[in-house]
C-alpha cells in the first residue's frame, strides 16, 4: 500500500509531457540534436579562434617574466629544444615546438652567457608541481627558483612559493641540492633548509631540480662544448 502511494506520488510530480510533441519522429529527434550540436560546435570554434592568440600571448608573457626572474634579468634569451637526448636550436620542419621540452639560455648584451632557465615538473604532495629555475652550467650553481604551478596545501605546502626565505636559499646553491632539516645543516654550499611542516613539498622541489639536472647536464655539456669549439 505504502509503496503504491509512493509510486503514484512520484508519477504526479514528474512533469506531464506536452501532448502535441508525443509523436515526434526519430528523424526529428536526430535532426534537433544534430543541429544543436552543429551550432554549438560553430560557436565554440569561433570563440576558440578569437581567444587562442590572447591565451598564447598570456602564457608566453608569463614564461618570459619567469625567465627574467630566475636568470636575474638577462638582456636576451634563446630557446633550445630537447630532441632525442640532445639540445637543438632549430626543430626539423613539421615538428611542433610544444611537443618538446625547452630550456632557455640567457645572455648579457656583450654575449656572455648567464645560464640556462630550465622548466621541470614532478609530483609533489597533492599534485604536479611545475617550476622553473636558473642554472649556471659552469659553476654548477642555481641562480634562482620559481614555482609556476602547484596544488599543495594552503598554509603548509604552499610555502614553497610564499616562504621567501626558502625560495631565496636556492640562489647560489651548488648542485646536486641536498635538503636538510632546519638546524641540522653543516654549512655546505649545496644545502637547503627544508620548510618545517612542508617537508614533502620542499623535498619535491629539490628532487625536481636534481632530476632535471641529472637528465639535462650531459646534454648541456655536449651543447656548450660543441658550441665553443
Amino acid at each position: 500500500m505504502t509503496e503504491e502511494n509512493l509510486t503514484t506520488d512520484t508519477a504526479q510530480d514528474a512533469p506531464p509531457p506536452p501532448p502535441q510533441q508525443e509523436e515526434a519522429s526519430p528523424l526529428r529527434l536526430v535532426l534537433t540534436l544534430g543541429i544543436a550540436g552543429a551550432l554549438a560546435g560553430f560557436l565554440i570554434v569561433f570563440v576558440y579562434v578569437a581567444t587562442l592568440p590572447i591565451i598564447t600571448a598570456n602564457k608566453a608573457a608569463e614564461l618570459r617574466e619567469a625567465i627574467q626572474l630566475v636568470l636575474g634579468a638577462p638582456d636576451q634569451f634563446d630557446t633550445l629544444f630537447v630532441v632525442d637526448g640532445e639540445l637543438r636550436e632549430e626543430l626539423d620542419a613539421g615538428q611542433a615546438p610544444e611537443d618538446f621540452d625547452q630550456i632557455y639560455p640567457g645572455y648579457r648584451d656583450d654575449g656572455t652567457q648567464i645560464g640556462y632557465a630550465i622548466q621541470a615538473a614532478e609530483f609533489g604532495f597533492q599534485d604536479v608541481v611545475r617550476l622553473i629555475f636558473g642554472y649556471d652550467a659552469e659553476t654548477q650553481e642555481i641562480l634562482g627558483m620559481l614555482v609556476l604551478e602547484h596544488k599543495e596545501t594552503p598554509g603548509l605546502g604552499d610555502k614553497i612559493v610564499k616562504d621567501l626565505a626558502f625560495v631565496g636559499q636556492f640562489v647560489e646553491t651548488t648542485t646536486p641540492v641536498a635538503g636538510v632539516k632546519v638546524g641540522a645543516g653543516t654549512g655546505a654550499e649545496n644545502e637547503i633548509d627544508m620548510i618545517t611542516g612542508a617537508t614533502i613539498s620542499s623535498r619535491a622541489v629539490i628532487r625536481i631540480i636534481n632530476n632535471a639536472l641529472e637528465r639535462l647536464n650531459p646534454m648541456i655539456d655536449a651543447y656548450s662544448g660543441g658550441g665553443s669549439r
Binding site: Q21, E22, L29, A40, T51, N58
Partner: protein
C-alpha cells in the same frame, strides 16, 4: 501550477527559494571555490552568464525541441555556454581561471542550471524565463559571496586580498581548505534556519487567526 507575477519570478530565486541556501542545489561549486571573495565573484558571474544564456535559448526554442531529447538538448546548450565562458576567462583573467580550474567546466553539471531549464524555461515565455534565470543567478551569487567572505576573513584575514587584521593575525587555515567550506555552510544554514523559525513563530503569535497556513 501556482500562478506568479513577473516580479515574483525574479525575486523568488534571490531569497525565498535561494538555490544554495534553501534549495541546496549547486553545492559543489558553492563549497569548492569560495575560499576567497574574488573566486566567489568569478564563479558567481560565470554561472549567472551560463544560466541566463541557457534559459534564453531554451525558452526561445522550447516549441522546436522534441520532448524525448529535451534534456540532451539542454545539456548541449549549457555545455556550449560553459565552454565559451571557460575560454573567455582563460583569455581575460588567466590567474582567476587557474584558481577555479576544473570547476568552470563543471558548471555543465550544476543541477541548479538544468533544474531551471526543466522546471521553468521549458514551459514559460522568454521574458519570464530571463527574469527567473537572473533571479536565481543573483541568488547563487549572493550565497557564494556570503560563503566567500566568511572563509576569506577567517582563513586568510583579508577581504578581496586586502589584509584586515595586520600581521599579528594567525590565519585559520582550515577555512580555506575543503572542510572549511562544509563548516561555513553549516553555520550559515544554522543561522538562517534559526532566523526563519523565530520569524515564523513570531508571525504565528501575532496572527493567531491563521496559524495553520503559517505553519505550512
Amino acid at each position: 501550477m501556482r500562478v506568479t507575477t513577473p516580479q515574483q519570478d525574479f525575486t523568488r530565486g534571490i531569497w525565498r527559494e535561494n538555490p544554495v541556501l534553501i534549495q541546496m542545489l549547486g553545492l559543489c561549486p558553492a563549497l569548492a571555490v569560495t575560499n576567497t571573495v574574488v573566486n566567489a565573484i568569478a564563479m558567481g558571474l560565470a554561472t549567472f552568464f551560463v544560466l541566463t544564456g541557457s534559459s534564453l535559448l531554451v525558452s526561445t526554442f522550447k516549441k522546436l525541441i522534441p520532448n524525448q531529447v529535451r534534456i540532451s538538448t539542454y545539456i548541449v546548450i549549457i555545455a556550449t555556454f560553459v565552454t565559451v565562458i571557460d575560454m573567455t576567462l582563460q583569455a581575460a583573467v588567466p590567474d582567476i581561471h587557474k584558481e577555479l580550474g576544473a570547476f568552470i567546466a563543471l558548471i555543465v553539471v550544476n543541477c541548479m542550471i538544468l533544474g531551471r531549464q526543466e522546471a521553468f524555461a521549458s514551459k514559460k515565455p522568454v521574458g519570464r524565463s530571463l527574469l527567473d534565470a537572473a533571479g536565481t543567478g543573483i541568488g547563487f551569487m549572493i550565497a557564494l559571496l556570503i560563503l566567500g567572505t566568511f572563509r576569506e576573513i577567517l582563513g586568510s584575514g583579508s577581504v578581496l586580498g586586502f589584509s584586515l587584521f595586520g600581521s599579528n593575525f594567525e590565519p585559520w587555515v582550515v577555512f580555506v581548505l575543503p572542510p572549511g567550506g562544509f563548516l561555513t555552510i553549516g553555520f550559515v544554514l544554522l543561522g538562517l534556519n534559526a532566523y526563519r523559525k523565530r520569524r515564523d513563530e513570531r508571525a504565528t503569535a501575532l496572527s493567531p487567526a491563521v496559524p495553520q497556513e503559517e505553519a505550512a
